[in-house]
């Protein structure tokens, strides 16, 4: 009876609140717009400030010269070369390892405690401060636990011919091929720097690649299996091509993070003053953010303000280029469903 009564009232029992709901909608819209504008405004102020201070200092000398005691002549040729080579190597190392790990974890890993533990820790590793990776890289790649130091038990035991000096340790050619030169430990070389950067970005690369792989519809895999296809073939010829744009985007975005990193490379032993271009990946190096940091610590305004700003502009330019490439590749390989 009660229910009958309530229902029989029909429309009257609703209070018309559409106009107040519309108002809430408008207020919310304005708040959202404000948060977007706040971010954009800050970024614009920053960019304008840097451009004003540094634009006229982005001149040929910046790319042609090394650091100089005269600001008019100072450039960052070796830092640009160092950054590009280190990032290139980092990409080379982290792509196969990251994609391989992602494929294993998504497609092959059994659902057990160990896998769960690994998953949890990959996410944790993505949040570890970069300086920690620098320390890890120094011990593992830079010094290799002092295993190849004169007098270490390994050197004594295997009678390894150890060289002293700047590129000390054990130098040899893998398989006797002249271009497959190996130096142990990796020391303060670009290889050591790139491997450290690889550690740093690997968690993010793996997470991005896993997400891209997981986004491949199960129906596509089923279609592959139903044709008598092995698991590896399904992964190789169906899953990976579909996941590729996503993997690539994650990869390039991680690399753009790596190119701005300073701390781990300083810990690793990257130099602040490198007045030559590297001849091989085993050479010492510096990178753009270290060069910028170096200039900022100098007293003269030309270094501290103008050259540093010019360096930041170059770094930003490289970043925008990389993101542009990411967008281009994404569009190019994107699958139209």
């Amino acid at each position: 009876m009660q229910i009958q009564n309530t229902l029989s009232k029909g429309k009257e029992i609703y209070k018309d609140n559409i106009s107040s709901r519309n108002r809430a909608e408008k207020i919310f819209n304005i708040l959202l717009l404000f948060s977007v504008l706040f971010g954009l405004l800050m970024l614009t102020v920053l960019l304008i400030d840097i451009a004003v201070e540094g634009f006229s200092w982005v001149r040929p000398e910046l790319f042609e010269n090394y650091h100089s005691r005269k600001p008019e002549n100072a450039g960052m040729k070796s830092a640009i070369a160092g950054s590009l080579i280190v990032i290139g190597l980092t990409g080379l190392f982290s792509f196969p390892i990251g994609v391989g790990a992602a494929i294993y974890l998504e497609e092959y890993a059994p659902q057990n405690k160990l896998t769960g533990f690994i998953n949890l820790n990959i996410n944790n590793l993505a949040g570890v401060p970069s300086i920690v990776y620098g320390m890890l890289g120094l011990v593992v790649f830079g010094r290799m636990f002092d295993l190849f130091k004169e007098g270490s038990f390994l050197v004594e035991f295997l009678k390894i011919p150890i060289e002293s000096g700047a590129i000390g340790g054990w130098n040899f050619n893998l398989f006797g091929l002249p271009w497959l030169e190996i130096h142990l430990p990796f020391g303060r070389s670009m290889v050591a720097g790139a491997l450290t950067m690889t550690l740093l970005i690997l968690p993010v690369v793996i997470i991005a690649a896993r997400e891209a792989i997981r986004a491949v519809p199960p129906s596509i895999r089923e279609g592959g299996y139903a044709l008598g296809t092995t698991k590896w073939h399904v992964i190789k010829s169906l899953v990976l091509p579909i996941a590729f744009p996503g993997i690539l985007t994650g990869m390039i975005l991680s690399l753009s993070r790596a190119i701005g990193e300073t701390a781990p490379l300083i810990i690793m032993g990257a130099f602040t003053y490198v007045p030559f271009l590297p001849k091989s990946v085993w050479d010492q190096f510096t990178v753009i953010p270290i060069q910028i940091y170096n200039w900022i610590t100098l007293p003269q305004t030309e270094y501290r303000v103008h050259l540093a700003a010019a360096g930041i502009l170059v770094l930003l330019l490289i970043l925008f280029l990389m993101n542009g490439i990411a967008i281009y590749l994404r569009k190019k390989y994107e699958i139209k469903w």
Binding site: G223, A226, T229, K336
Partner: protein
Amino acid sequence: MNLVSNIQSYSINFHENATIIRANQLNIFYSGKLVVENFSLQVPKNKITALIGPSGCGKSTVIRSFNRMNDIIPGFSLQGEIKYQGKNIYSSLEDPVRIRRQIGMVFQKPNPFPKSIYENVAFGARINKYQGNLDELVEYSLIQAALWDEVKDKLKESAYALSGGQQQRLCIARAIAISPDILLMDEPASALDPIATLKIEELMWELKEKYTIVVVTHNMQQASRVSDYTAFMSLDREKIDARVGVLIEFDETTKLFTNPKLKETEDYITGRFG
């Protein structure tokens, strides 16, 4: 647990030579939970066998076990045996890849690969090392799937440029391009409009000459239109809370629809289910 169902069922048998798949007392589980119990069925060669029944009674589960597609679902397990070419396909000696190569499958939702029309059809042929002329195979398969005339001028275009019905026929072309023995179809027309559905049904009639077809459908008119034999599955009424699928009746389609042996079948086909 008493795994042998007490429910009444009716089934027919064929001569050994006329049977292509023989499922014997299957119990199928997902993560330890029984979903299909004591399922036995003989699938006749070069005929269309329809599998009907209410949603959730395990039709997909059964048809996917015929080519071991369920192996890729975590938690799947199966007791009993499925005999094909004299061997139990679930024996540990059998390679699921080889079985799926001979027993193809078409799914409910068209699932062409994000490649060109041509590459979709050629995909299976390439992996299975087709020795002949690939262009001819693609053309032949598309003709068989009644799609050639609609796509012959745009073979290099993406499969996703096709309509849903065309995509499903492309999936059929893709499946028959590797000359399977058997074609399993899990509600192949349920995502399509009536005209596209009719085309698929006509196509099944044509394909019957060369292949054995097992088709799941929830559409009884479709079952009665296209199939030679029909198996009716339902949930075991004695354990309705456990939701266990069982085979109720298997017979020639005309007999099952005009003169069902069991009341449960009659209730279902006359729409008095539930």
